[in-house]
Subunit: 611 residues, 2 copies
């Protein structure tokens, strides 16, 4: 009986503990291309749950030549044939423990592909590429008059050739002209203030070599960037977003802990249709040698569920947002009868998306107002091609509108906890979030070039769905938000409409609390909200910042077509004038109380207008 007990206990221990595989025992060692051996090892443990692949600390190199390759649709990226270093398909409870290693990539590859995996932890490693997916040029001479510059750019770091007045940057057998571009400020290590002033049109630019590491750029700039600034160029669609660092789809229980992404030809992390995600201590940042980190967002989540928990992370120097959480609106091309809808995925970076699976709840909505009018359930989805699918649902309303329709998946919206993170020195926003789940954004440091937090939703441009229902934004520090000058609110909550769309009868977003935040601001802006029902802006502290040129850009709080708004106990200090609140006539039920430093609550004329 005792023996049996011990045996049973030992068995339990074995079952509970993951087998640890030292990758060195499988020929995966520093100093050579480890791709083929790693592909084989990962494949060999596909049917073995509870396994840890452990990397002794070192630099591991991965080349594309012998890597698993297949055509992949990757949301928010350019689809195509992808090469993979860590191709994780159908694994269960697997851990990749880098042991502090660097995973160095040498070409067009997706380092991590995670599909239909139930339980995966990535930890303790960094991801980098030998040759960046962008190019950095230091401005060493600047002529304001003829808008020309001389730049220093080492071709051993950013390979290029100049011919016939044009430059081509060479990135892994791909030759890119000057495509998208922006100027960074080496003092702030962020996009330069009002960077749009220094845009360059690569088609017009004339390039003349001066020395082996310098050349002159004429005729393309709106204005010549100042000496010391850094011109960053990064190619064109459809070959400029081929390689995210980590791509996850159709999986469950993803954990990323102490992983640093220094570089990616796309996003640091893109996650599709995955249930429960935890990022803890993830960093997206640039190396010492570069000013820019990833080509696109640090992290991005489309059509997920469960909880996305992001804590203790650092996201900086990206060429796009730190996080974006949303679903997808898919337009209906034609109602085929028999509860069947022919649907057409409209945004080119959503082509190939899994819209849903049988059993998912979906909403049918007006494409004009983006407001849902009927809920039903997916019975079948027949994918025709990357663009189109036929959706069969259990039931449709009796009088199905003949106007343009869209559908969205209601079952796959996640909760979001975004806590104790730092976002700074990146192009674009800190946070985009449109999910019907519960959202908590607290204790973060946010300092981005455009809006701090953008709660949008649109059905005609990005097709990012998810009118919010419960958002709490509290105790965050917003610092110098909006030095792009064009988009500049700590919080903007508004659906995006285009010409052929209109506000519907109900509000789009609901229940947004923006409370107890500290805003260090050079422009005096706080919140703009449109089509929100239930907005609480309270307890926030606005402090004037001298870090950027003082700007008076209008009312601190702008309300359009909102309902049930509370603005109280906000404080503003250090601004030349009291901050203002404005609202359109179709905004209703606004309470404004005790906001020292704000003009509105003492301004009778405005107060009258507000009620």
């Amino acid at each position: 009986m005792k023996n049996l007990f011990i045996c049973g206990f030992a068995l339990c221990t074995v079952l509970a503990e993951a087998r640890v595989v030292n990758v060195a025992d499988h020929g995966i060692v520093p100093g050579k291309d480890a791709t083929y051996a790693l592909n084989r090892l990962i494949e060999s443990v596909q049917n073995e749950p509870d396994v840890t692949l452990s990397f002794p600390k070192g630099q591991y190199d991965f080349h594309p030549e012998n890597a698993l390759g297949m055509h992949r649709a990757v949301a928010n990226h350019d689809n195509g044939l992808k090469r993979m270093a860590f191709p994780l398909f159908n694994h269960k409870n697997i851990t990749i423990d880098g042991g502090g290693s660097t995973f160095m990539f040498h070409g067009h590859m997706i380092p991590f592909t995670i599909e239909s995996v139930q339980g995966i932890t990535l930890k303790n490693f960094s991801i980098d590429w030998i040759r960046s997916f962008h190019d950095e040029m230091l401005i060493v001479e600047s002529n304001a008059k003829d808008k020309s510059v001389v730049v220093e750019c080492d071709p051993s770091v950013y390979p290029y050739t100049i011919k016939g007045g044009k430059i081509l940057f060479h990135r892994y057998k791909q030759d890119d002209p000057i495509g998208s571009n922006m100027v960074f400020d080496p003092e702030t290590r962020a996009p330069i203030y009002n960077t749009r002033l220094y845009t360059i049109n690569g088609k017009n630019a004339k390039i003349t070599p001066i020395s082996k590491t310098t050349f002159k750029i004429e005729k393309g700039f709106k204005n010549a960037p100042p000496v010391g600034s850094i011109l960053v160029t990064y190619g064109n669609h459809p070959t400029s977003r081929l390689c995210p660092a980590i791509h996850v789809t159709n999986s469950k229980d993803l954990k990323i802990k102490n992983v640093t992404v220094y570089e990616a030809g796309g996003m640091g992390l893109i996650v599709e249709r995955t249930d429960n995600i935890t990022l803890d201590g993830m960093k997206v940042t640039s190396t010492k040698e570069r000013i820019v980190s990833t080509r696109a967002d640090a992290t991005h989540f489309i059509g997920c569920k469960g909880t996305i928990k992001v804590e203790n992370c650092l996201f900086e120097h990206m060429l796009d947002d730190a996080i974006n959480v949303h679903g997808a609106y898919v337009p209906v091309t034609e109602y085929l009868g028999n509860n069947e809808f022919l649907c057409d995925i409209s945004h080119f970076q959503q082509w190939g998306l899994t819209f849903g699976e049988p059993g998912d709840k979906i909403a049918i909505l007006s494409r004009e107002t983006i407001l849902p009018f009927y809920e039903t359930t997916v019975k079948n989805i027949k994918v025709l091609n990357e663009h189109r699918f036929v959706l069969t649902v259990t039931d449709v309303p009796a009088n199905l509108s003949k106007g343009p329709l869209s559908v969205e998946n209601l079952s796959w919206y996640p909760d979001l906890v975004f806590r104790k993170n730092i976002v700074r020195e990146n192009r674009a926003r800190s946070i985009l979030v449109t999910t019907k789940g519960k959202v908590l954004i607290e204790d973060n440091y946010l300092s981005s070039q455009m809006h701090g937090i953008l709660i949008e939703g649109d059905n005609n441009k990005w097709y990012e769905s998810g009118a919010v229902q419960d958002v709490t934004i509290r105790n965050n520090e917003f610092v110098n938000i909006g030095y792009a000058v064009s988009e500049r609110y700590p919080l903007l909550a508004s659906p995006l409409f285009t010409a052929n769309q209109r506000m519907g009868e109900g509000r789009y977003h609901r229940n947004i609390d923006f409370v107890d935040n500290t805003i260090k601001s050079f422009n005096g802006l706080l919140v703009k909200a449109c089509s929100v029902k239930g907005l609480n802006i309270s307890g926030n502290k606005m402090v004037f910042s001298t870090d950027y040129p003082k700007a008076d850009e209008g009312e601190a709080i702008v309300l359009e077509y909102c309902d049930d708004v509370t603005i109280k106990k906000n404080k503003a200090a250090g601004f030349d004038n009291p901050l203002e609140v404005s609202k359109t006539a179709d905004t209703s039920n606004v309470k404004i109380e005790r906001n020292p430093g704000f003009k509105s609550q003492t301004d009778r004329k405005l107060q009258a207008a507000l009620n």
Copy 2:
């Protein structure tokens, strides 16, 4: 008993006869896009063997929007996302009977995709596209001095725009500049004599609009084509070979009967790894309105087995060969030990090819001499990506050469019967064939711009394998072969070597009979052979033709490094001088007898040289 007998008989009848499905009963009717309904019908009979899909006569239109789409590797074409009208996967004994219908396509589509199908018959229909994959321009003015022309080109037929001196042709959302091109002669409806004289460099050309349907072309031509000729342009790789008409792979017992292909953005028929193929009364030809038919070969077979039987066919006006039958040489990148070879498919239009499967016999060969030195059997093939695979074989030679190696699949070489066909008025050759199977080419009319029959094989350019072992070419009529001027033999049999390769110790090709053919010739050329053991050139009749300018292009028969050659009872008539035979010193065992009209058998000096 009687009833039972009748029932049994009736059952037998039912089992033996295919169920006939009238496609009209499934919504597939003229006058609308039939793609979605057809895709569904084909899918619904996937598990039903012995079925005929019968089309009432009419024009059926197919658009890409709702077509099944997926990434496909298509040999000798440009791989990518393909849209399919007839996606036949895993069907058994299926017949598509067009009933004399026209299948009209409206975009980048592959009309027929046939994969892993056991038994399929395509019959009684034609394939065409609304907008051709090439452009035709009639030369209406021609200035020899400044090498400019004025052309007529109706943009409602060949849509284009001219801007900044450049022209872009619009083909289904794809904009092509002047890419590959050649000039056709409307009198012969064939490529103009010595067409290379009239090549145009699209990059240099300057285009000036004159009227809505005419424009001037300057600065690009080598020489201005004559008035009345037709300039044909057809795009650039990798977007100029996207849409073959019929793509077959990994199938068995394919029959094509009375099918006409008027147009294809690639080949008329491309077949990979298929066992037994019969083409009867297939036509590849142009419509009345166009001078050109398909963008590439009429038919092409790679890595097939069984018998390819081609009879009673017409292949004309293609921009490439009428037929090409071959295997693939795949270079070995590295011997990994343990009977494993890392292999790298070298030609970009073979990427994605199925090299072999377990059980296939393969040869290991020297990449330098292309001569095999060991036979072994495939144990496993692990595909890494479109380019590379790891081949495991049952055994390797004791001292595996360290020189560069290749492999070829010996199990998948077909026999070929090519009989009673007409090939004419096309760019390139009539027939290319390199297969180890038995080849019979008889009773054909062959009149192509380059060689009549090319038996090649190379391991450094096209990687087309299959040194021949048994070829009979008899009773064919070769008419005006070689009006391209550069390549011009009724039969050229020679492997293609490049600088770093060399002839090996054995001959490459074997046993070629070229007998009892009639050759109407303006250049007096008959056969060139290199590295052939066993060559019989007998009973052929050469007749002088006045259809093209008289040309004296050297010896009628040229032998290099051949062995065991018989040249007898050939006749030549109407040429200015007796035709000659020449051979290199490394050619052995040549018998020359009774060849009236030839110089060699009476010329002692030459006779001496020949022995």
